[in-house]
């Protein structure tokens, strides 16, 4: 039986992601953990997160999990979700600038103020709800997920990676931003697959069967 470790660093509830992983692949052993050995020994690792980046990075740095995640990113299939994705960039402008894990070179920035849609209506921040994910490259995690499927988003900041090669999907709000990043054994998404009904469960299932190869 393969094991997936969901990293628990005390930020928010992990109920949804654990239940969704169990639902997506009942044969997989899902564990919620904070200890380094279990995370490093797992077949796959999920790095979730909601809330503010400063609290997130503080929790990771104090517990020593920062180094563990950087280690996992070199070797084991890793899925970053929402704040867990943002934390993989070099830094974020949230909370007056926060150093992050630098797994992907680039920044996390806030949506510009006073955005408007085509009809001139102001766009709301946070970007909340179901938006389309446009796949830029083939990837094992997109298997059986139709192009431009809608996933559930809730965020006010987004990733701006330095390398276009790591961008695997974009979403428009109103301009295109990077909503999924991938490099070798790491895949990271801004949206919430655990809250995105059938397509979300499919993505989690794909991850739970992924060998980390592209």
């Amino acid at each position: 039986m393969s094991t997936v470790a969901v990293i628990d660093y005390g930020m928010g509830n992990l109920h949804s992601i654990v239940k969704a992983l169990q639902h997506a692949a009942p044969e997989v052993n899902v564990v919620c953990v904070s200890d380094a050995d279990t995370i490093l020994g797992a077949d796959r690792v999920v790095f979730p997160g909601v809330g503010a980046i400063r609290d997130c990075m503080q929790a990771l740095n104090q517990s020593g999990l920062s180094a563990v995640i950087q280690q996992v990113a070199k070797s084991t299939p890793l899925l970053g979700i929402c704040l867990g994705m943002q934390a993989l960039l070099t830094d974020s402008e949230e909370n007056n600038g926060t150093r992050c894990l630098d797994v992907f070179a680039g920044h996390v920035v806030h949506f510009p103020e006073s955005l408007t849609d085509n009809d001139g209506n102001s766009l709301k921040i946070p970007h909340m709800g179901w938006n389309q994910v446009h796949q830029l490259h083939q990837h094992p995690l997109w298997e059986d997920i139709p192009q431009d499927s809608r996933f559930y988003f809730v965020h006010s900041y987004y990733a701006q990676p330095n390398e276009t090669a790591v961008m695997v999907a974009t979403t428009q709000y109103p301009d295109a931003f990077t909503c999924a990043l991938a490099h070798n054994n790491v895949f990271a998404v801004q949206f919430h697959p655990e809250k995105s009904q059938a397509v979300g469960l499919q993505l989690l299932k794909n991850f739970l069967h992924w060998d980390g190869q592209v």
Partner: protein, 257 residues
């Protein structure tokens, strides 16, 4: 390609059963919440909201069990409102599997509760529920006041000012209910919805008064709502969520089909 407008069925839960009242009285039984939530998920609901109207503290555990059961098999966002008064109440609901909580009366009693809650759990999970009633006379410029305790208690607070303040305090979303329209099936209070939606930067969910599918579309087109919430038209199977979405799409609204 853009963000879809959301349809949110609301389940008023009393002691573990879904009920629906008209203007907060005359309550009718509409069934088992877990079963109904499953059906809405299959039909394509974008989120589900539970409103716990249970009066006694002893029965609060019931809603926690309902959320736990639904969250184990329904993978869309879940919101729980009703009786959320402390950070501990919020923590319990999130641990049970809720993604957001709705805060109503407790915010009026102590606005700082919203600030503390959003700092602790993140704005993304704090929905401030506003029950508003028109207080201006016919012919006068529109004015709405907020009410608490299921619409029974006036507060003297202007609804638009209150919505802005709640966003400043960290609300990630506003759930706006017209007390004049709730349960009437006459449609949303569109001027109210539009006024609030244009006054705040966060998404606004329109609620109260939906009687047919055009009302949902009007809430988005004329009311400028980001999401529309309805209860009875879905519970008693008058319309499915899918029919509602098809209808909104036919009126040019972007929806998740």
């Amino acid at each position: 390609m853009s963000l879809a407008k959301r349809i949110i069925p609301c389940l008023d839960v009393d002691n573990g059963r879904v009920v629906k009242g008209v203007k907060f009285v005359d309550i009718r039984d509409a069934g088992d919440p877990v079963e109904i939530a499953r059906r809405y998920d299959r039909e394509g609901a974008d989120e589900i909201t539970f409103l716990d109207i249970t009066a006694t503290h002893d029965n609060r555990d019931t809603i926690v069990h309902v959320v736990e059961q639904v969250a184990s098999e329904v993978f869309i966002p879940l919101t729980v409102g009703g009786g959320i008064r402390t950070l501990e109440d919020i923590r319990r609901m999130l641990n049970a599997g809720a993604d957001k909580v709705g805060i109503n009366s407790a915010a009026v009693v102590n606005p700082n509760f919203v600030r503390e809650a959003s700092e602790r759990f993140g704005s993304q999970c704090i929905v401030v529920a506003i029950d508003a009633k028109k207080v201006s006379a016919p012919g006068e410029p529109n004015q709405w006041e907020i009410f608490t305790h299921g619409g029974r208690k006036p507060t003297g607070i202007n609804a638009i000012e209150w919505a802005k303040k709640m966003v400043d305090f960290g609300a990630g979303e506003i759930l706006l209910t017209s007390m004049d329209r709730d349960g009437t099936r006459e449609g949303f209070d569109l001027p109210l919805t539009r006024a609030i939606s244009e006054a705040v930067t966060v998404p606004v969910i329109a609620s109260g008064g939906v009687g047919n599918l055009d009302h949902l579309a009007d809430g988005v087109i004329e009311g400028k709502a980001d999401a529309v919430l309805a209860a009875s038209i879905f519970h008693f199977a008058e319309y499915t969520i899918e029919q509602a979405k098809q209808h909104m799409a036919s009126r040019g609204i972007e929806v998740r089909l």
